[in-house]
């Protein structure tokens, strides 16, 4: 994603021994245009037909704002949690050997494979007031299913593999000698982790974070089962889009979608630039 930023001034990279740059770039571009750009520009095109005044009226509706806040807020929180625990998971999988490691490694990918609706139903069953987990935490006054907390749980589930799978290969590349060198130079364990290891993992971690976050913002299937879907409380933006479509209100649905697209794009751009910046600072593993 950020390859071009590394080699300034900008120019086409010299052809490698592998042939076919022109052809593969052509395929890349037309494929992206066909699969990504045309559908998304269709959305922008429809939204632009609304006119600015109408667009802002629809987009700044309190219910829409609230749904956006819930969607982006829960996705952000879930991505932060995934960043922390994803790095720990990757750490364990890369640095330690223990029985059943391969099985656990394979399990990380399960959220990718499972239809999200199935995940949503399973999580709801667990966390509902009469569920396996729900029945124990409910008496403690903790409500998870049918509250925003439930949304966060669903989003942690669907976003987990992103962080683990982006951080894992980078972690594998950090030689053990780096840690040992730090230790011989008198660094404490904490210093080794915080000053030596983590900075190098930051770009990959941020990529994983961005992916998990983006996934969470757009997630629908798993969330609607556990959210409770109460307007102003646990109604996510994708559900609000569906609701507007059920009202045959295509204009409002388009407006919400366009706002989501704009915010997501801005946030991904921001995360990518932070990532590019940190990659330049800690070049030794990049």
């Amino acid at each position: 994603m950020t390859e071009a930023t590394k080699t300034a001034p900008w120019r086409f990279r010299q052809p490698s021994v592998l042939p076919g740059f022109g052809l593969s770039l052509g395929i890349t571009l037309s494929w992206l245009v066909l699969i990504v750009l045309i559908p998304l520009s269709g959305l922008v095109f429809r939204a632009s037909g609304l006119g600015w005044a109408k667009f802002f009226e629809l987009a700044l509706d309190p219910r829409t704002l609230n749904a956006l806040k819930i969607s982006f807020g829960t996705a952000f929180l879930a991505a932060v949690i995934n960043l922390v625990f994803g790095v720990i998971l990757a750490w364990v999988l890369v640095r330690y050997r223990f029985p059943g490691k391969r099985v656990i490694d394979a399990m990380v990918d399960l959220p990718f494979a499972l239809p999200t609706a199935v995940a949503g139903i399973a999580l709801t069953t667990l966390y509902a007031p009469n569920g396996w987990i729900g029945q124990f935490i409910e008496p403690l006054g903790l409500k998870i299913a049918f509250t925003p907390a439930g949304i966060v749980i669903a989003l942690i589930f669907v976003g987990l593999p992103f962080v683990v799978r982006t951080v894992q290969p980078i972690m594998e590349e950090i030689d053990k000698e780096v840690e040992e060198a730090a230790a011989t130079l008198g660094a404490s364990r904490f210093q080794t982790i915080s000053r030596v290891l983590l900075p190098g993992l930051l770009p990959a971690g941020l990529t994983g974070f961005a992916l998990a976050f983006a996934r969470g913002v757009g997630e629908y299937g798993s969330v609607i089962f556990i959210a409770g879907n109460l307007p102003y409380v646990s109604e996510i933006a994708p559900l609000l889009i569906v609701i507007r479509l059920e009202e045959f209100n295509y204009a409002a649905a388009t407006a919400i979608a366009a706002v989501m697209l704009a915010i997501s794009f801005a946030m991904l751009l921001l995360i990518n630039s932070i990532q590019a910046w940190s990659r330049r600072r800690y070049v030794y593993v990049a």
């Binding site: 709801t124 509902a128 109460l230 307007p231 609701i243 045959f248």
Partner: protein, 333 residues
Amino acid sequence: MVGLAIVLGGLQLGAASVAFADTTILNVSYDPTRELYKDFNAAFAEKWKADTGETVTIQTSHGGSGKQARSVIDGLQADVVTLALEADIDAIAKETGKIPADWKTKFENNSAPYTSTIVFLVRKGNPKGVKDWGDLVKPDIQVITPNPKTSGGARWNFLAAWAYGRAANGGDDAKAQEYVTELFKHVPVLDTGARGATTTFVQRGLGDVLLAWENEAYLSLEELGPDKFEIVTPSVSIKAEPPVALVDGNVDAKGTRKVAEAYLGYLYSDAGQKIAAKHYYRPFKPAAADPADIKRFGDLKLVTIEDFGGWKEAQPKFFGDGGVFDQLYKPGQ
């Protein structure tokens, strides 16, 4: 995707029909009619074969009523639509022009061959003693209903509750709104569809009362065992009229008008009425159905959508953007 698959499937079978002189029609319906149309399609195909010697294959597509309507608007080649709400067929008529605006007059009883109503499903023994709508707003009662925005059935639920609020307060609509506002404070979860709400009530054990289509309630009782739940019929409810219509634009393009018309007409025949009653729909002509089937229905006072000024008035007023339902959830209330 499913829509596309059905269209492609339809095209394929349509092509085959030239060779074998057989016809395929597509009935786009809503969720709880699965079992009904499975039976009915078989009966109609047999009847059509006996009458004309032609073989007809009927495909049925099920899903949320509003979503089904949108598929037809987006180009799904339905020959007939049998949906949960008049408003959904109106939307197809308005958006595509493939259905004439006066479609309701084409068949008897406002194009509703069978009707249903909204009843309560409660846990066995009725532990909270729920008898009527008034009990639903008592302090420790939780009510499960799907979101009227995404579920056709839930709109009937909403209007049935309103009808009670109105009847209990001498026809005062402001009081009815107060009642419904209070009622929705007892709703902890808004599922997107009727089947989802049933799951919440039955599997998650959430709530004390499920507001449900009468036919769905009986069906769940049949499937889940009558030892776990029971049906409470309130004193007043709404006559839910799921309508049917021919998609003129499509049948003329496909040349299936004759068989599609006969298909809908057959719903009104004695045989069709009998099948509807068997599947817990209230038939338009009860005399044609099995008396034992009719006896299963509880007795109650039924208001109709006309008491709300018809769907053309009720839909935007109650369920439109910023309508009564949206106001229930305005922050600070």
